[in-house]
């Protein structure tokens, strides 16, 4: 399990992913590792002592004392414009964690896996997909990723590579606002028909992890249960109103 105390991490890499999302790679002294799906709490302290805390999902598979977060810049945000705009390599950041154990998947939990993410909700799912690949797992996994357009898709090249490895991962996009010319994929929000086409049959007893804006998560979870999936095998992580895929 995780650690309670706040500690200082050092930013070792800042990597733009899309126009609004950056990956922050952190070196955390004494980090005991994490489980895919967990998050960290980040705390910023202003000069007058005012503190703001936010939770950010871990995007990376467990890797020693290195932890990667993917942070979406929200224009009216209190914390994300700093993390995803001003933070530089060598800066320090106060964090606590890893936190969470409910929205967690590890290869020994088996599958088949249905991962449904909206916008930056793909981040904790990416940790699961990366850990699956790193562990050489062949648990069949289907990722359904809803995004406004193709430019907003986070980790696109890596997801292509992981899918091309042919070890049982498929990636399907639903582009809700704009589609490139000649797009033959889904061009609407995730709905029951899409979940039936992309997902597993209830009889295959998939484990489903759904993460993203609250509306998307609740719609998807309701559809899955209505399609006959066992509610206890549908895990959700609501991100609130952030991100609008």
């Amino acid at each position: 399990m995780g650690r309670l105390s706040w500690r200082l991490a050092e930013v070792v890499e800042v990597r733009p992913e899309t126009g609004r999302v950056v990956t922050l790679a952190l070196e955390v002294p004494g980090w005991d590792g994490h489980r895919p799906g967990q998050h960290v709490d980040v705390r910023l302290t202003a000069e007058d002592g005012y503190q703001a805390e936010r939770a950010y999902s871990i995007a990376s598979a467990p890797d020693g004392s290195r932890v990667e977060l993917a942070v979406e810049r929200l224009e009216d945000g209190e914390v994300s414009p700093y993390l995803a705009g001003e933070l530089r390599k060598g800066d320090q950041l106060e964090l606590r964690g890893p936190v969470g154990g409910y929205f967690v998947w590890e290869p020994d939990r088996g599958g088949p896996l249905l991962l449904v993410g909206g916008g930056s909700g793909v981040v904790p799912l990416m940790a699961m997909v990366r850990q699956r690949a790193a562990a050489g797992s062949h648990v069949p996994a289907r990722l359904l990723y809803s995004s406004r357009d193709l430019e907003d898709v986070i980790f696109r090249e890596e997801l292509e590579r992981l899918e091309a490895a042919g070890d049982g991962l498929t990636v399907t996009y639903a582009l809700t606002r704009a589609q490139p010319a000649g797009w033959t994929g889904y061009a609407r929000r995730v709905d029951a028909v899409m979940l039936e086409e992309v997902g597993w049959r209830p009889g295959e007893r998939p484990l489903a992890y759904v993460c993203g804006p609250t509306r998307l998560v609740e719609a998807v979870a309701s559809h899955l249960v209505a399609l006959g999936h066992d509610p206890s095998r549908v895990r959700t992580e609501r991100f609130g109103p952030t991100g609008v895929p």
């Binding site: 399990m1 995780g2 650690r3 309670l4 105390s5 005991d32 998050h39 709490d41 805390e53 939770a55 606590r96 964690g97 936190v99 969470g100 154990g101 409910y102 929205f103 804006p213 609250t214 509306r215 609740e218 895990r235 959700t236 992580e237 609501r238 991100f239 609130g240 109103p241 609008v244």
Partner: protein, 96 residues
Amino acid sequence: MTMDETDLRLDGNGVAGMLAEVFGFEMTVCWGCCAGCGASNQLGAMLVYAHGMGAVACCPACGQHLLRIARGEGRWWLDLRGLAWLQLDEQARMAG
């Protein structure tokens, strides 16, 4: 699309750090029973409304308040009236 209460709803994951600070356990994997309807769930499945100072967590089955938690002026306030019981798993104990 206008924003309403629905958009602000989070899961138990959203208060995991706060609850860990108070209880010293990874509470999202611990089980609690709703005093209203009797449903047992892991706290990660709770519906949570979080605000600057604290949060209200509700039963995913019936919507009743399970717990309220707030922090201010060096104190934590907890209202656990909505829970019939809470089970803390030793394996979920967190390091300091």
